[in-house]
């Protein structure tokens, strides 16, 4: 015993009844209590089974190790974590865009690519940044942008608006995102506020990392606002990253009667793409386009044909050659004594190089408008040409068009069948022949559907083919399928008024008034947008005229003339003898 006790206790005989006595016995001086405590600790130590006590050791080691890691992690400051996560996110972004400098707004993962999981990782990294620092604008921007991937574009927009409020200098990337969003909505036919767009474009392009597409859009807007110098400046900035945007610059120079500047820009573009190793076929086409835009069509053809030798199976090049020949065909037209003469050989070459080129219909329509191939003499001349010079696709097509216009359906069918025997992949002929089959008595609808399916398999993106398929299916009373075809057609080209009208008709026939109403509303929206665009075009053309007059006085000032929106529609409207003579 360390200390002398007042009274010793037989602890083996303590039971609950003596508990009070024991507790009372603790009422002693602190020194005695300390002594008793020391005694207790001695007893305790001597009576322990240390082996059993140390059984907890492995468990304790594991717990301490884990606890230490957790504590270490929690002790890292939030700012260090934010920095690390942001850095890591940048690394991941760099993996998704090895050579591009565009903004995140346009980045989407490629299906099946090795970087498929990267967007989720980047999203997670930025969400963590935001978790650690709610005011991190980049993280907020990225998280909002990611929402669009999950279909929450509206919510993303609202968050972007909080990052980049109107009339305030907000986060540039958010301004850029909102500008692109407005442009996309405008393209879909929604009415947008141009002032808002302009504001966001201005703010969004203020940074060094502005996306070329955004710079291009702003340059277009400036051009519309009659600020060509500023427009060119932004265009050139955009072209630094994407040389093909220089084509627009060339086009503008040409439209404003400045061929020398256009040629110089074209040469610059050719120079820029010449040494590029990526996408060689596209670069060849770009160079050819630069020459073609500056009326150096032979040079363009030379470049393309040289490229074709390198890439004999290239569909891009064959389409480009076909288009070059189309241009050459147009340029070949001469007007002698009020008689237009064209060289059909060029059109023939355009068809031969790419039978799937539906734009050939434009040339046929243009010829029809000029009256070429309509008179008996002209038809006879075409027949003679076919008889003397053998296969002439252009002549055959003109004959077929002429027969159709004169109501000689069987003759037109015959011409198209002859063409298809020679060129089975000529989608234009497939489409036109399919529609002609619907006009004969009795209609050859099953054959028609086979032909149009062939056309769609070759050119699945052509809205006109889906529209034709819808027409044939409607005649076959397969209305649900017809609706689907019309919807596909509208998906490819939302501004097709006739297709939408036919769709509304089918919905009404199938007693689906709600869907019909929705389409009718959409149609009204589209028509309104087209009307608005037309009025703007008219205004712009008037302005351009005034500007040209002014330019005669001050040659430095040029006014760009925007492209005719109807012309853009022509490409998707395509050929259809049945509906669009």
């Amino acid at each position: 015993m360390f200390f002398k006790r007042n009274k010793s206790i037989d602890i083996d005989h303590i039971d609950r009844s003596k508990f009070v006595t024991v507790v009372r016995g603790l009422w002693m001086s602190p020194v005695d209590l300390a002594g008793e405590f020391l005694d207790l600790s001695t007893y305790w130590r001597r009576t322990r089974r240390w082996g059993a006590i140390f059984a907890i050791l492995p468990v304790a080691i594991v717990a301490v190790v884990l606890g230490s890691f957790v504590a270490a992690g929690k002790m890292v400051t939030d700012s260090s974590k934010v920095e690390w996560y942001a850095e890591r996110a940048n690394d991941e972004i760099a993996k998704t865009e090895p050579a591009s400098t565009g903004s995140e707004a346009s980045k989407q993962p490629e299906e099946g690519s090795s970087s498929k999981r990267l967007p989720e990782v980047i999203d997670m990294l930025y969400r963590r940044v935001l978790q650690l620092n709610k005011n991190n604008k980049l993280a907020k921007f990225y998280v909002a942008n990611q929402m669009t991937r999950y279909g929450s574009r509206g919510s993303a927009r609202q968050i972007m608006e909080s990052l980049a409020p109107i009339q305030t200098s907000g986060y540039p990337r958010a301004h850029a995102w909102l500008a692109m969003d407005l442009i996309e909505r405008g393209q879909k036919g929604e009415s947008i506020n141009l002032d808002t767009l302009k504001y966001h474009l201005k703010r969004g392009t203020s940074g060094d990392d502005a996306a070329p597409s955004l710079l291009f859009a702003y340059s277009q807007l400036l051009q519309q606002e009659n600020k060509p110098a500023e427009s060119q400046e932004y265009l050139k900035k955009a072209a630094q990253a994407e040389p093909q945007l220089l084509l627009n610059s060339i086009n503008t120079y040409m439209q404003n009667g400045l061929p020398a500047q256009a040629a110089a820009t074209a040469d610059l573009l050719v120079e820029k793409v010449k040494d590029k190793t990526s996408n060689p076929e596209e670069n060849i086409v770009l160079a050819a386009q630069a020459y073609a835009f500056t009326d150096r069509i032979d040079k363009a053809l030379e470049v393309l044909q040289t490229g074709m030798k390198r890439f004999p199976k290239s569909t891009i090049l064959s389409r480009a050659i076909s288009n070059a020949f189309r241009q050459k065909f147009r340029m070949s037209s001469t007007n002698l004594n009020n008689q237009v003469q064209v060289n059909l050989e060029f059109l023939n070459a355009a068809i031969a190089f790419d039978p799937t080129n539906v734009s050939i219909q434009d040339e046929l329509n243009a010829l029809a408008q000029l009256g070429i191939g309509q008179s008996d003499a002209a038809i006879e001349a075409l027949r003679v040409q076919i008889a003397t010079s053998g296969t002439s696709f252009a002549a055959r097509l003109l004959l077929a068009e002429s027969s159709f216009r004169r109501g000689e359906i069987l003759s037109a069918i015959n011409d198209y069948e002859v063409i298809l025997a020679e060129l089975p992949k000529m989608t234009l002929a497939l489409n036109n022949l399919a529609m002609l089959y619907t006009l004969v008595v009795p209609p050859r609808l099953e054959e028609a559907i086979q032909l149009i399916d062939r056309a769609i398999s070759i050119g699945p993106t052509v809205a006109e083919f889906h529209d034709s398929r819808g027409d044939i299916l409607a005649l076959l009373k397969r209305k649900e399928e017809a609706i689907n075809s019309y919807l596909l057609s509208l998906e490819k080209s939302p501004t097709r008024v006739e297709t939408r009208e036919k769709l509304i008709g089918l919905y009404e026939e199938l007693s689906q008034p709600e869907l019909a109403k929705a389409q009718r509303d959409k149609l009204a929206e589209v028509q309104q947008a087209i009307e608005l665009q037309r009025s703007k075009m008219k205004e712009a053309q008037e302005q351009a005229t005034r500007q040209k007059e002014a330019a005669t006085r001050t040659p430095e000032t040029t006014t760009p003339v925007p492209e005719d929106p109807d012309k853009a529609n022509e490409e998707v409207t395509g050929p259809k003898p049945a509906n669009e003579p």
């Binding site: 360390f2 007893y43 240390w50 992690g73 969400r127 919510s155 929705a518």
Partner: protein, 584 residues
């Protein structure tokens, strides 16, 4: 300092030493009249009440067995029963103990009768434990009441805590594990994020509840700890310390699994959150956790072992010993053993006591019979879950319930889902996904539900913060009549707002007026007998509208969305009513 022989600590007593006491009492053995009393006490004090409770007990077992966290429940019960068989001292109690036994038996049977009357299997399960304790107290006079109590605790472990407290504790502990994992991964710079109950590593999302459930779930671990404590006849302090260590090991186990999944996924491209890897990892961690609990228990028992000194100890040591040996004080005082054998004092449980217990026991069996009738004749009972056949579910509103363009919303998808039998969302969920001005809108029809549930809890576990919940008045022009609709506003950590409107209707298509009305199918046994038993357990269908927004809604937008919800609710309710009528 030299210690005298008398002061030398004695060899510690083994827990098994106490059996000597039991053997001693068994050696005496009950007389034939006492045997008869024991039989009668067993019959009226245990057998009859348990028989009366059996219908609802069976229902309760059915509901427990399908809940993953209570899968373990047969284990502590079996262990408890086996230990009862091994317990000595089987002789009728007398004196105060007899009176307490009879009193507790009356209390237990009374609770059982009330529980059966209210058709509450939970109350009946609780009553069964009280009845077992009372019977054992009366029938094992040679065994300390504390021992009997600890054995009964094993049965009590299988009782699910009320108001989902266990689920709440589970969630809280999982949150702690997630928090720990977050810190661990931050320490080794593995990018991760924990949002609510979800951990994400790279593009891998792991639900903490899925990782921390199963055989090493908290309740299972607690049962193992309790069984250990009872088997080793631990003292109160050791028992408390062992039980207190269980949450720590549960969190550690979950943390190890989460860290293993994260490191495996990030560094070795091995996914341990599913398949064989998941099972192997779960088994290893479970075994490790159980081993840790056992080792800790052994260590705690050794640390808190009473001091076995002979005479001459001081007051403090005496107090320490008393504290650390309770309730096994006698086992640590061999000299007291002959005295500890309970002396027959006062009258044993006699005719009066047995009659007192027999009467309510018979009432219990009568009411239990009625409950059995209701349970058997009801095709769908409240406890076993409201059932909808797949065929019946398939005729309820599906994709065609809405046109592809519904008002300003465009339908972008429809997903029917079949959940697990115990999912709080019900067995089936039909989800319509819409797009409205670039925002996503979700409409869901969840069924069948047996009781009202706060719909936002699921969102909370995904990291949403609830900003407000309020009931919405349904205007007369909505044409619905009385309906209880709730509106919930939430916000996620990234500033996105979420808004929910939800309401219920029953399987007759009748809108529910109050939230308490649901699952308030709390019909008593008489009401159940009066009504068609199957009608006593109604099924409910829940309509939910969820929309997200980058900002708070304006009053005008809120009003418009409420109107939209009423329209959707009425549309789905009417279609469901027609479909359900056809199915009947």
């Amino acid at each position: 300092m030299k210690r005298s022989a008398s002061e030398e600590p004695k060899r510690h007593a083994k827990p098994g030493d106490a059996l000597e006491s039991a053997a001693l009492s068994e050696a005496v053995g009950p007389s034939s009249s006492e045997k008869n009393r024991l039989r009668i006490w067993f019959f009226f004090g245990l057998f009859v009440p348990l028989l009366g409770m059996s219908p609802l007990l069976v229902l309760q077992m059915q509901s427990l067995i399908v809940q993953q966290r209570f899968l373990f429940f047969p284990i502590p019960i079996i262990v408890g029963v086996l230990l009862f068989f091994r317990t000595g001292g089987y002789r009728i109690a007398s004196g105060v103990r007899a009176k307490i036994a009879v009193g507790l038996a009356l209390l237990g049977i009374g609770i059982a009768v009330l529980g059966t009357f209210w058709f509450s299997p939970w109350i009946v399960q609780f009553a069964s434990v009280v009845v077992i304790f009372a019977w054992a107290l009366g029938a094992f006079a040679g065994t300390a009441w504390t021992r009997i109590f600890s054995l009964c605790c094993l049965f009590a472990v299988a009782i699910p805590p009320p108001s989902g407290v266990d689920a709440l504790i589970n969630t809280r502990l999982q949150t702690v594990a997630g928090w720990g994992c977050n810190g661990f991964l931050d320490a080794i710079w593995v990018p991760n994020i924990v949002e609510g109950n979800v951990l994400q590593i790279a593009d891998k999302k792991v639900k903490l509840s899925e990782i921390s459930g199963g055989p090493d779930s908290f309740a299972a671990l607690l049962a193992i700890g309790m069984a250990l404590v009872v088997l080793r006849r631990s003292t109160l302090l050791v028992a408390l310390a062992t039980v207190a260590s269980i949450p720590v090991f549960y969190v550690l186990g979950s943390l190890i699994r989460l860290v293993a999944i994260a490191i495996g996924f990030e560094n070795f491209e091995v996914d341990l959150s599913m398949g064989t890897g998941f099972i192997n990892c779960a088994i290893m961690v479970s075994l490790g956790t159980i081993a840790a609990v056992i080792l800790t228990h052994i260590s705690i028992a050794a640390i808190l072992e009473p001091i076995s000194t002979s005479k001459g100890a001081n007051n403090l040591t005496a107090l320490y010993r008393l504290m650390t040996s309770w309730p096994n004080t006698k086992e640590w005082s061999p000299q007291l053993l002959p005295e500890s054998a309970e002396k027959p004092g006062g009258a044993p449980i006699g005719r009066n006591g047995i009659v007192l217990v027999a009467v309510p026991s018979l009432i219990c069996i009568l009411i239990g019979g009625a409950a059995g009738y209701v349970a058997i004749s009801s095709a769908r009972t409240k406890v076993s879950g409201v059932r909808f056949s797949e065929e019946r579910a398939s005729i309820l509103p599906s994709q065609s319930a809405f046109p592809s363009q519904f008002g300003s919303m465009r339908m972008t998808g429809f997903t029917p889902t079949v959940h697990s039998a115990t999912n709080p969302l019900g067995r089936y969920s039909n989800l319509w996904k819409f797009e409205d001005k670039g925002s996503q809108v979700f409409v869901t029809l969840d069924f069948p539900l047996q009781s009202w549930r706060p719909v936002w809890t699921g969102y909370q576990s995904s990291g949403w913060k609830i900003l407000g919940v309020k009931p919405v008045e349904v205007p007369a022009e909505a044409g619905i009549g009385n309906l209880h609709v709730e509106e919930v506003a939430m916000q996620n950590p990234y500033g996105l707002y979420g808004f929910i409107w939800y309401a219920f209707f029953d399987d007759q298509g009748v809108p529910t007026i109050e939230d308490k009305e649901l699952g308030g199918g709390r019909l008593n046994i008489i009401q159940r007998l009066q009504k068609n038993p199957s009608a006593a357990s109604k099924a409910y269908l829940q309509v939910q509208l969820f929309l997200e927004s980058g900002r708070e809604l304006t009053e005008r937008e809120t009003q418009a969305n409420r109107k939209l919800f009423f329209e959707i609710y009425e549309r789905l309710r009417q279609q469901s009513e027609v479909a359900l009528k056809q199915s009947r």
